[in-house]
C-alpha cells in the first residue's frame, strides 16, 4: 500500500537541488504531491508530500546519495495528509512595519481570535541590518467575516504597523 510521507529538506542554496531531489524520488518510484519550496536565509528549503511504497527508513535511504552529494539535511515523517483537500482562501492580508520582537505573535494572535484560519503565510525581513522591515503576507479563511479581522488589527495599526486587508473574490467559470 502506498502511503504519503512529508519530507523536509534544506541546505546551502545552489542550482539543481530540486532537480536532483525529484529525480532521485522519481527513480525510486515515488509520486510527488503538494510542495512548498523556497529560499530561506541563503538556504534552499523543501517541504513536500511524497507517496512511496516502503516505510520512512526506505525513503530516507533512497534520498541518501543526493543528501550526501548536496550536503542537505533531511527529515521524513509518515503523514496522514491527502491530495484534494484544498481550502479556498477568501481574504488576503499584508502586514508590514519596522521589525520588532513579537510582531508576528501579536498580529497572528489578534487575527486568530477574530476567526482567521491561515492557508498560506509568507514572512520576510527587508530593509537594512540596522533598520529591518518585517513583511507578512497571508491568505486565509475569514470564518467570522473580514470586518472582524479589520477590527482586530485596528489597535495594532494604531501602533505604527501597516495592514492591508482585501477580500479574495474567486471567479469560477
Amino acid at each position: 500500500m502506498n502511503e504519503w510521507f512529508l519530507i523536509t529538506l534544506f541546505g546551502d542554496d545552489r542550482p539543481g537541488i530540486v532537480a536532483a531531489v525529484t529525480k532521485a524520488l522519481f527513480d525510486g518510484g515515488c509520486n510527488l504531491g503538494e510542495a512548498s519550496m523556497i529560499r530561506l536565509g541563503g538556504n534552499f528549503s523543501i517541504m513536500m508530500m511524497v507517496r512511496h511504497a516502503g516505510d520512512a527508513t526506505a525513503l530516507e535511504r533512497l534520498l541518501q546519495p543526493v543528501v550526501e552529494t548536496l550536503s542537505l539535511r533531511l527529515h521524513v515523517d509518515a503523514f496522514a495528509g491527502e491530495l484534494h483537500r484544498h481550502k479556498e482562501p477568501d481574504v488576503r492580508i499584508t502586514v508590514f512595519g519596522a521589525d520588532r520582537a513579537g510582531i508576528v505573535a501579536q498580529v497572528t494572535g489578534a487575527l486568530a481570535e477574530a476567526g482567521l484560519n491561515i492557508v498560506d503565510l509568507e514572512t520576510d525581513v527587508g530593509g537594512t541590518e540596522d533598520k529591518p522591515i518585517y513583511i507578512m503576507q497571508m491568505e486565509g479563511e475569514a470564518t467570522q467575516g473580514i470586518e472582524a479581522l479589520r477590527q482586530a488589527l485596528a489597535p495594532i495599526t494604531a501602533e505604527g504597523i501597516e495592514a492591508d486587508i482585501a477580500p479574495i473574490d474567486t471567479v469560477i467559470g
Binding site: H84, H86, E88, R92, T94, D120, E122, Q137, E139, I146, D164, I165, A166, P167, I168, D169, T170, V171, I172, G173
Partner: protein, 166 residues
C-alpha cells in the same frame, strides 16, 4: 432542459478556437437553456462557455447577480462576444468548472467594453468592471481555446490592487 457534461482539462476540445454563431434559431435557444442549467449546476459558477460542454461555438453565459456587493448586469447571454476596449489591470483569483480543485491568480483588465448578440440575434453592448468584467474575460478566453491556467501568475506575487475596501 438538461445539465450537460462539462469537459475537464486536458480534454483537447478546450484548446480549440470556437466558430461564430450564424443561425439564431430555436436550436440555439434550446442549447442556451441547457448551458444555463449546466452553469447553475456547477458549484459557485458565475459563467460558462459553450466549448466547456464540447460545443465549439462562440456562446457564453455570465451571471453575477447572485453575489453580494458585486455590481452586475444580471443574466447575460453573450453570442459572438467581442471585447473592444480594455482599461486598467488587476490580479484576481480564478477557478474553472473545467479545472476542478485548483484556483490561481490571473491578470485581467479592470474595465472592458463588450459587444455581443443575445440568443435572438439582437445586438447588445456593455460597459463592465471588476468581478463581472473578469468573469467575461475568463469566458471569452474559452472561445479562443485559452484556460486561466495559460495566464497564471505567481500566488506569491503582490500585484494586488492597493485598493482600500471600506
Amino acid at each position: 432542459m438538461a445539465v450537460l457534461d462539462v469537459l475537464t482539462y486536458p480534454d483537447p476540445r478546450l484548446k480549440e478556437i470556437a466558430a461564430p454563431v450564424e443561425r439564431f434559431d430555436e436550436a440555439l435557444r434550446a442549447f442556451v437553456a441547457d448551458l444555463d442549467e449546466t452553469m447553475r449546476d456547477g458549484p459557485g459558477a458565475v459563467g460558462i462557455a459553450a466549448p466547456q460542454v464540447g460545443r465549439l461555438e462562440r456562446i457564453v453565459i455570465v451571471d453575477c447577480s447572485g453575489r453580494k456587493n458585486t455590481p452586475n448586469h444580471g443574466h447575460m447571454v453573450l453570442v459572438n462576444p467581442e471585447i473592444s476596449e480594455w482599461d486598467g489591470y488587476a490580479v484576481g483569483r480564478e477557478g474553472c468548472l473545467s479545472v476542478p480543485d485548483y484556483t490561481g491568480n490571473v491578470i485581467r483588465a479592470e474595465r472592458i467594453t463588450l459587444e455581443a448578440k443575445d440568443e435572438n440575434g439582437a445586438a447588445q453592448s456593455f460597459e463592465l468592471e471588476g468581478f463581472e468584467a473578469r468573469a467575461v474575460q475568463h469566458e471569452v478566453d474559452h472561445l479562443d481555446g485559452m484556460l486561466f491556467l495559460d495566464r497564471l501568475v505567481s500566488r506569491r506575487s503582490d500585484l494586488f490592487r492597493r485598493k482600500k475596501y471600506k
